[in-house]
């Protein structure tokens, strides 16, 4: 053995390939945007950009939490129900003001996260079934709280959350952006972030290395619940109504897809925050394209299937689940 840490150069071709594998989702978005500019009327407009970003904001926020969970080799099916719970809680406490109402809604998300996290971390139930319980029960609870009713929201301050802008950028988008940066920072720069990917990569090794495995797992599910609740609050403000029966339906599938298309393997051990955002954007663009072109549901579903496959094929990084 001659020198230490021998640095071997990587050939350029390999680098392009790696880039494509890691960033295929960006390429897919690019292609979709170019195609849309070509075929969709009024695609290149501020209003359109605004619409897409505003619609994607809740998906992004939920996906961020989901990415963390998936990083630990888990999954959180309850996110849609958490959104429902948050939206159901809001009007109940609006009487005390917007602040307290939002706080309660977010606490609802935290509570769900605590239950999920405890089941996964302490009881060691498999995440998919642990979170399935609240996937089923959470929405029921939301409906019970709301008395089964959709309620219109008239609180101006709350509605502002959905409609006001900061220097021209809609508030939900600002929130989603800020949370993205925050989560990216957490993953990259904090002990917690490093530990969560290690746990996803090899739980036994993490235990033996003295990581606070259970605490980290608990926190991860709490964060996922919290972020889903944030998304629920924003969605409520935008809908101008609290609709626990349908808010966040199928959100878990969208979020998981966004995360996986963004390059985070379901086998855990890695989290790609920006990729996740890109994955969410891709989903949104696909949906928007299909709606704008008024394709019948049958065709739309099949096209969506093909595009998802094409996107992961381009981003073919993980052979894992």
């Amino acid at each position: 053995m001659s020198e230490a840490a021998v640095a071997l150069p990587r050939p350029a071709g390999a680098r392009v390939l790696t880039w494509l594998q890691n960033y295929g989702v960006y390429a897919a978005i690019g292609v979709l945007i170019v195609v849309n500019i070509g075929i969709t009327p009024h695609f290149l407009s501020m209003e359109n950009l605004r619409t897409q970003l505003v619609q994607v904001a809740p998906i992004v926020i939920v996906s961020l939490g989901m990415a963390l969970v998936i990083g630990t080799e888990g999954v959180d099916l309850s996110v849609g129900s958490v959104m429902a719970l948050a939206t159901a809680l809001l009007p109940l406490y609006l009487g005390y003001g917007v602040g307290p109402a939002i706080l309660v809604a977010l606490l609802g998300g935290v509570a769900v996260g605590l239950v999920n996290g405890s089941l996964v971390a302490f009881v060691r139930v498999q995440p998919i079934v642990a979170t399935l319980a609240l996937f089923v029960g959470g929405r029921g609870l939301a409906l019970v709280l709301a008395g089964g009713q959709l309620k219109d929201v008239h609180n101006a301050a709350l509605l502002d959350l959905g409609s006001s802008s900061v220097v021209g950028v809609p508030l939900p988008v600002v929130v989603a952006g800020a949370l993205t940066l925050l989560v990216a920072g957490v993953v990259r720069r904090t002990t917690f972030g490093r530990q969560l990917v290690a746990i996803g990569g090899n739980r036994t090794a993490s235990v033996l290395s003295g990581l606070p495995v259970r605490r980290v797992l608990l926190l991860v599910y709490v964060l996922s619940g919290l972020l889903a609740a944030v998304a629920g609050v924003l969605a409520t403000a935008r809908l101008q109504a609290s609709d626990p029966s349908s808010l966040g339906l199928l959100m878990e599938l969208s979020a998981i897809t966004a995360v996986v298309v963004g390059g985070t393997p379901l086998t855990g051990g890695r989290v790609r925050v920006l990729g996740t955002v890109a994955g969410a954007l891709l989903i949104q663009l696909v949906r928007a394209t299909l709606i704008k072109h008024d394709l019948p549901d049958s065709v739309a579903q099949m096209v969506q299937a093909v595009i998802i496959l094409a996107a992961v094929y381009a981003a073919r990084g993980g052979a894992g689940r």
Binding site: P11, T190, G201, N202
Partner: protein
Amino acid sequence: MTVTKPEDRRPPHDDAPVLEARDIVKRFTGVLALDHVSLSLRPGEVHALVGENGAGKSTLIKVITGVHRPDEGSVLLAGRPAGFAGPLDAQRAGVQAVHQEIGLVPDLSIARNLLLGREPRRALGLIDSRRMHETAARTLTSYGVRVDVRLPLRSLGVGAQQMVALARAVSVDARVVIMDEPTSSLEPREVDTLFGVIDRLRDQGIAVLYVSHRLDELYRICDGVTVLRDGRVVHQGALADLDRLRLVSLMLGRDVAKVRAEGVTRFSGAHEVSGEPVLEAHGLSSRYLLDDVSLTVRSGEVVGLGGLLGAGRTETAKAIAGALPLDAGRVTVAGLSVRRGSAGAAVRAGIALLPEDRKAEGIVPTLSVRDNIALAALPRLARAGVVSDARIDRIVDTFMKRLRIKATGPHQPVAELSGGNQQKVLLARWLATEPKVLLLDEPTRGIDVGAKAEVQALVDELAETGLGVLLISSDLEELVEGSDRVVVLKDGAVVGELTGDELTEEGVMTTIAQGVS
């Protein structure tokens, strides 16, 4: 057990080669793992394949058995291009391999692992599980492994798993058997068993390709040798023509004089023992596994843990590190007692465990070398939960240099490193936590002679700085030379303790043989 002595070994058959690798080139992204490597095996020949960690030995084996496709070159079986599409193809053609990282399925039962793909059948081609268990039990007993074969493989220690893998490879009609570091976690006695098997294979005209970092083993059984360095063949010929020093110098690419000057084991001998017990374990007990084990390690002392496979050494280490649920027992570090059953508490108290099963319990395959090294030390490298990249880089750089970790850089995924280098990464992970006690479970397992010496020197050096070291090694020489004192375990209980003059290889063996728990 009789082991063939070199003198009564028959000369290699001079028939045509049964297996030949010609001009093999294999590249991985950024690494030229094999650079025009050729090798041929004759029937009845036991051929050694040696080289330092990352030299390309495992890669060559994987190319030969069809796991990897070579970028250039070809593999010939009995003179005809083999072109194995995969391991199954190779096995069909009679090329069996025992891979370095065991390569069995932990959750499958022992019997199923052993007989996967050739289970005894009944009518309709259905598997006859009764016969399967019988066959498995019989086969394994003949390798000295007597266990309930219906248990999952996971319940065996690494050594026993290694024996299962061996038995699996050998119990098929094979023309070539390839063994990648089969003895790295075997006891002297199992090694003897294995060598008996290899002798049989030789008598039957089966060719064996044998990879090991334990040089004395090579001299005991191998006829020919191929030395790899950085993916190139640097020497090929009869092993008898090479002396040990020359072999080492070829592997390391350093001249003989330098190697001689440095010696083969690097242990310096006795240490300055301060007398302050840094680690005390009292009455560790766990059903079936440990029975009232107590031991003390003083600051600056290296305590060896001796015993046969399954004696409970790994369990003892894990119990101390809080990773094994205990029925009774207490562990203190520097006088402070450590919360039982919590690995986190143990790490915070200054206990570091280098686990035996590197793949399952050590590396985090999705992370880079850097992140793997920093993992356990993160809390120390962070302020208010935010890590400092600069501090991590500094530590990682230090240890990559100090342990000579061979990687394209700190950001290479650790899964791409050779086995030995992964081991060094793990060692670095623990050293970065600045532990008070180091529990090393087979620390030199799969490590090349050069690195082994470095690790041994490091153990010495660490002990000198006041660290307490608990050393578990199946390599008796290493155990005896490296330790100030050896505690001998048998069936999960302490049966003896050897110090000073009693501390010899024979002494350890006798204690094991006579010990009653």
